[in-house]
Amino acid sequence: MKSASGSHTGTGTWLLQRATAVALVLALPGLMIYFLAALPADFSGWQALFAPLWLRLLMLLTVAALALHAWVGMRDILMDYVHPTGVRLALLLAVIVTLAGSLAWLGAILFGATWGAS
């Protein structure tokens, strides 16, 4: 019988974890420098930091890589420490919902969907 919580996908996710790690190693310091170099004290200055399209695209792509990276990492943690299959799958689902939700929310904030929390 096929296992409900694992198949032969280990090498693919390992590679995904490494590839997203390399992308994050480069992108995150860049974003941090961009924001810390011009941290404003008022709202209009803060809003202006998010005006460039390249910045918003870079942020969304970076968080997409982060979500994939976190998915593999949290999956590894759950596979090591949570053994009942039902509980493990429920927690993994919660992880996926949290990550996909965060990414979608960020997209709504950055690209101005008015139905978002903003």
Binding site: R18, V25, L28, F43, G73, I77, S102, A117
Partner: protein, 124 residues
């Protein structure tokens, strides 16, 4: 073999530095996972208007919020540096015992140093 099963006293297990880097890599990764939705929430409120921006600024003025931010900064510094070490080990850099031990000590110390600098910026 007669001694089995071995009783593992977690408080008496002495991890080598690379063991600490490894377990802290997991803990910091889990913390950063929890921090992501919080960060998106803070961004959402701060960009929602003048009032939202001020409310986030006020929240970050609270010592507990700054302490949580400091914890996340440590988690980021540790996870980033331990991850770089991991990538180096993947391509067989520094895999001999002496270099691996030295690099794991360097990761622990550098992450601590970054955290101290951040604490000084946040609290002083």
């Amino acid at each position: 073999m007669a001694e089995r099963p071995v009783f593992l006293n977690l408080l008496r297990i002495c991890l080598p530095p690379s063991g600490w880097v490894s377990i802290l890599h997991r803990i910091s990764g889990a913390l950063l996972f929890l921090g992501l939705p919080l960060g998106v929430w803070a961004l959402s409120v701060s960009l929602s208007g003048e009032a939202g921006f001020r409310s986030i600024a006020e929240r970050f003025a609270h010592p507990l919020a700054r302490l949580s931010l400091l914890l996340l900064l440590w988690a980021f510094a540790h996870h980033y540096l331990a991850g770089l070490r991991h990538l180096a080990l993947d391509v067989h850099w520094g895999t001999d015992l002496q270099h691996a031990r030295r690099s794991s000590l360097a990761v622990l110390l550098a992450a601590g140093l970054v955290t101290l600098l951040a604490a000084w910026r946040l609290f002083a």
